[in-house]
Subunit: 336 residues, 2 copies
Amino acid sequence: MLKVAVDTMGGDNAPVDIIKGAVQGAKEYGVGVILVGPQERIKSELARNDISGADIEILHTDEYLVEGEQPAYALRAKRNASIALAVRQVREGKAIAACSAGPTGGVIAAALTFLGTLEGISRPVVGGPYMGIAPNTVVMDLGGNVDCRPDQLLDFAIVGVVYARKLMNIPNPTVALLSVGAEEGKGNDLVKSTYPLLKQSGLNFIGNVEGFDLPAGKANVVICDGFTGNTLVKFYEGMGRATVKWLEEKLKSKLSSQDFAELRNQYMLLTNVADAGGGGLLWSVNGIVIKSHGGSKYSEIARAIGQAKSYYEMDVIGSLKQELATVRNRLKISNP
Amino acid sequence: MLKVAVDTMGGDNAPVDIIKGAVQGAKEYGVGVILVGPQERIKSELARNDISGADIEILHTDEYLVEGEQPAYALRAKRNASIALAVRQVREGKAIAACSAGPTGGVIAAALTFLGTLEGISRPVVGGPYMGIAPNTVVMDLGGNVDCRPDQLLDFAIVGVVYARKLMNIPNPTVALLSVGAEEGKGNDLVKSTYPLLKQSGLNFIGNVEGFDLPAGKANVVICDGFTGNTLVKFYEGMGRATVKWLEEKLKSKLSSQDFAELRNQYMLLTNVADAGGGGLLWSVNGIVIKSHGGSKYSEIARAIGQAKSYYEMDVIGSLKQELATVRNRLKISNP
């Protein structure tokens, strides 16, 4: 049976919610789980859950990462940290995926150390259709790649295309470059150097888009450096909160409190990037590693198990490798 | 009497609305106007306005810029273009300010050619409290400076501080650097290099802010490169349109059509950056030049005349020069 390795000690609600979620995920999605963490704590949690029919294995370790540690250093000091062991199960072929709600830096460091990145990609790419108001638009990068080279932006585009095809069922996703004007030649140095690469990439490149094109969903994949992307999604989230406050002022005398509460909750959900992000694949890692957010409850952990299984069945890693090779070959032929 | 030079041939509604607005502005704010453009057309428009009590002078030229021309080239080919003559009145001390609703590139090119920038600033800085949802926050730069050096970001901060003090009556404006994390050391190379400059600048620097802090109005002056700023304000505008569409869906059965129309109009106004921008000073030019947006009607032209007068009376240019000198001296002492 396919197995998913779960870091039981990562996240605000570890290990209680992680173990409960893993058991639920195992039963719901018909996969095995390898629970990585202190054996006695895991056993006593399992005793409080109904585990009948679930394929559960325990992999003991007393070490785990905590929030605030310098990740690379902590991983060296704790060779058997739960996240490290979980990721190593993937490398050794004992699990199809690893899941953790632990510190982002630690999860990324473990993934990079034990699985590495796909050839040519130096750091994980973060992105997805995080703006609920434009559900068919993936923005990449939103995270760690704050200073980028043009070839990195091309890689983001490729990752975005695979994301849109596999996870959003868009067969031929449109790709656009975020800039300050629509015409070729508008933009900063990075954008101007990236434009010709995308043009020759064979991807369905539609040119530049501007800020206002994002909420309008003008392209399926929008590419930008991680500084701009991170600022944008956080701004989006902030706009949600500020707009709800403004609406409350304007509507409290005109809507019933129930109607207003419903409107508020829907708009907050639409603009809540953390929730929308939920369990996310570390794109560009050479294996399936899912980072759930730190505050995950058991239901989100269960969903992450399900995601892990479907990423495996979709062969996202294989597709990404193939797409990277295809585009790079095409560029090599254009620029011999 | 103080005089404002007005380019009567710039903008979608030129010369009719420009001349009508200039006459209204002259009467309303008690300043003289120099109408620059084709004498006969100006005279025939003036005949259709009540000009009693207005101090009006005509400066004849048949040349003017049109949308779509390459600005620097057009200015060389049309030495007496109306915008060029208007700006030259400022340089020659015949007018306290020039106003135009003509093509942005042309107005900037004329301002740079005939007035130049303040020492050490290479291009005009665009910014203001353009996000209606955070009316006490100025964001700089939003425009032409898409690739920036740290010292440019420092200049933006100084311009922003003078803007907030003079135009928004905030005596000691807080200044923040837009980044991907609150702590010093978070950010791209540009932000990391700018942080120590701001720290030593003597400005009221409160550190980094993130995207979600903008709509919350966490700082009075937020500094970023023009690529990020331009993307943000356009995204803001797009969010306005997308949110209104979403609200219509949700509220059309729950609000009267009049109540909904009111809500929609208010939110559109709040998120309409072009309108909020309206008549804007070209900050960093060594003289008062106001660029009104292309679609300006006469009332906006009249308001621009009033702005020109109050910028002159506030001595914004002198204050900016003084603040630039003070901060630069302070940094020289810290880093001899």
